[in-house]
């Protein structure tokens, strides 16, 4: 059984109470949620459903909006790609932040330091991630100080991204060239070896390839879907058999 979208294992009780009651609309609870977001950044937990409630609160009360909390939520959502969390967060942001030159009279890139600029930068990262263009993701991340600022609050961001990428790789591959994986994880040499061996538990083989143990997702075994036969389907036949017998 998967985990329902509205469930987070580490959610404190007071947050849960707010989320399930009408207090989630109370502007006074934004402070509580902001605190909770900061906590998630700090101790590497994640609660999308609660974060969406904060974004909704901002949506209703734009004057309360704290850009920092918004971008932190988006960065946290990046760490769980390719789940729909990031787009779901975007849906609750004010429409102008994504507006491109095509739809507005305003021309040129958004003003420096604005929320729109930050959101559009993060959207670029998200696009690269969901397109599995990991090498581009890392180089974009390094290309601009703004990125470093945006992810600074989220503890262990790079490590989490590497783990996420490794998960994707383990679902799709049985063996991967070292050079390819190096560019995807943005690690080389001893650091690369350490990550692959200790964090992922994978082995290098003689040809300079990384071998990934088989799991349910990467074995690519043909299956035959068989039909489920329920006893009830034979009900009429059995009834008939009784009648004939009598």
């Amino acid at each position: 059984m998967g985990i329902a979208f509205d469930v987070a294992p580490d959610r404190p009780e007071n947050i849960d109470t707010i989320l399930n009651g009408l207090d989630r609309y109370n502007p006074e609870t934004t402070a509580v949620f902001q605190e909770y977001v900061a906590q998630q950044c700090e101790n590497q937990t994640y609660d999308c459903y609660a974060n969406l409630a904060l974004l909704k609160s901002y949506q209703f009360n734009p004057h309360l909006t704290r850009d920092e909390a918004t971008t932190n939520i988006l960065v946290k959502a990046l760490t769980v790609f390719p789940s729909p969390d990031f787009p779901l967060c975007l849906s609750l942001l004010p429409p102008y932040v994504l507006a491109t030159t095509k739809t507005t009279t305003q021309s040129g890139p958004p003003a420096a330091g604005s929320l729109a600029e930050a959101v559009q930068h993060l959207t670029t990262l998200h696009t690269q991630l969901i397109n599995a263009d990991y090498a581009a993701f890392w180089s974009t991340l390094d290309s601009d100080d703004l990125y470093a600022d945006l992810v600074a609050d989220v503890q262990g961001f790079e490590e989490m991204m590497r783990v996420r990428i490794a998960v994707v790789v383990s679902q799709c591959m049985q063996e991967v060239d070292r050079s390819v994986l190096e560019s995807w994880l943005n690690l080389t040499g001893a650091k690369f070896d350490g990550f692959v061996k200790e964090v992922c538990g994978w082995k290098m083989n003689e040809q300079g390839k990384v071998a990934i143990p088989l799991n349910k997702e990467n074995e690519a075994k043909g299956t035959v879907v068989r039909e489920d036969v329920k006893f009830e389907q034979f009900g009429r036949m059995i009834k008939r058999a009784y009648e004939v017998g009598a």
């Binding site: 329902a4 979208f5 969901i130 599995a132 035959v224």
Partner: protein
Amino acid sequence: MSVRQAPKYQQNAPERTIDDDSDVEEEALANDYQEQVSYEDGGDYDLDRTGSAGGGPQDLHAQLVAAAQPLEYGASIELKIQSYDSYCALFHYILNSEGPVDIEVPSYYWAWDVIDEFIYQFNSFCAYRQRLAHTQPADKEDDISILRENPNTWGCYSVLNVLYSLIQRSQISEQLAAKKRGEDSALYAGEYGSRNLYQMLGYFSIIGLLRVHCLLGDFSLALKTLDDIELNKRAMFARVMAANFTTYYYVGFSYMMMHRYADALRAFNHILIYVSRTKNFQKNAQFDSITKKNDQMYALVAICVAFYPQRLDDTIHTALREKYGEQLTRMQRGGPEALPIFEELFRAACPKFISPTAPDFDNPQLNVDPVEHHLAIFMEEVKNNMFSPTVRSYLKLYTTMDLKKLAGFLEVDAETLRSWLLVNKQRSRQMRHSEGGLLEGDVVNSSDLDYAMQADLIHVSEAKVGRRLVDWYLRNLARTY
């Protein structure tokens, strides 16, 4: 036009499967239809609409009637604001009188119509206000100044407040939860909830919330709202055609925006099959207006099927081919040429999204149409999936394949193809609902094609569907009786 003008159609027919006895079914439908006609002719609340609803409880009946009536097309802004005020007065009276208000409401339809019309007016008011703020047409300056002065009219908070208050007063959530546990819901109804008026308004307010949350772009909360309602044909909303239709549309749409295409398709299929089976009994003027929403849902089905290839019910499949055959083929082929089709269909089929706050009249460029916003987000998803059909169509032909060779066929470099393969693999894993709340589900492989890469060698595997013998066996056996 919207489902709000849909036929007031009642349906109590039992749950049916494809091979049901169709005579029985049609008879049941015919009976329902009779009921519906008599309802429409009965004039239960078909009284003349009184323009001003400002009076006290004396003309309550007139107010109740007015609340369920659509505003005339092109109503002036004053009329829209006035309508808001009379809704406020009515709901205030119902919610805040001393003790429950003692009136019997005409029918289920009435309660649905009130909530439906209330939200419809809210939705169109917000859309109108946003459009004016964005374009600032010179001939509408009067309207703009009125809107500037009344930023809280049709405010989001007050609309939500009404819906939540109706739900709380009627203790409908508690009642539904009790019913789910198999207990007597009357024990949980309380002073208000035991009355028809509150019970029905509360119930349809839940559906109303689903809709409002979806319009505001909060898709997960929209689905969460339905936690207490069981989606099946015995549910109360299923008795009112328009409510039934609306519910599945918003459930399906919310699922789609959460990238759960299998679940979205299930919701759309359910209601579309239902409509196609009953349409022969709905040949009245009102049926025309449901047709538009119906077409919108087919457009959404086309989008979802393009994302998530699936065998559809024959009726749906035929209708889909008829309405969007060409678009579907192009979307299923994928690639950049398909993007405008996705965009066109999404625009045609999405709800009229709104922003919750009053627009900024001083900065027109900030008031971007929320539809554009959601479209942009959705198109990211489409672009992400753009090359999956191509990849799949090639992989189907092989059991093993060299990455570089396949890249040569596709005229892309090996690194790009490697990324496409990762993307397609991730896309094939989707959350699918099996039981419990609508937000629950399991991650399943949605594709019959699977593969894994051993460095540059792609191993392809296929999930074949075995022969279905039981049905064949039983049918032939029955013939020998």
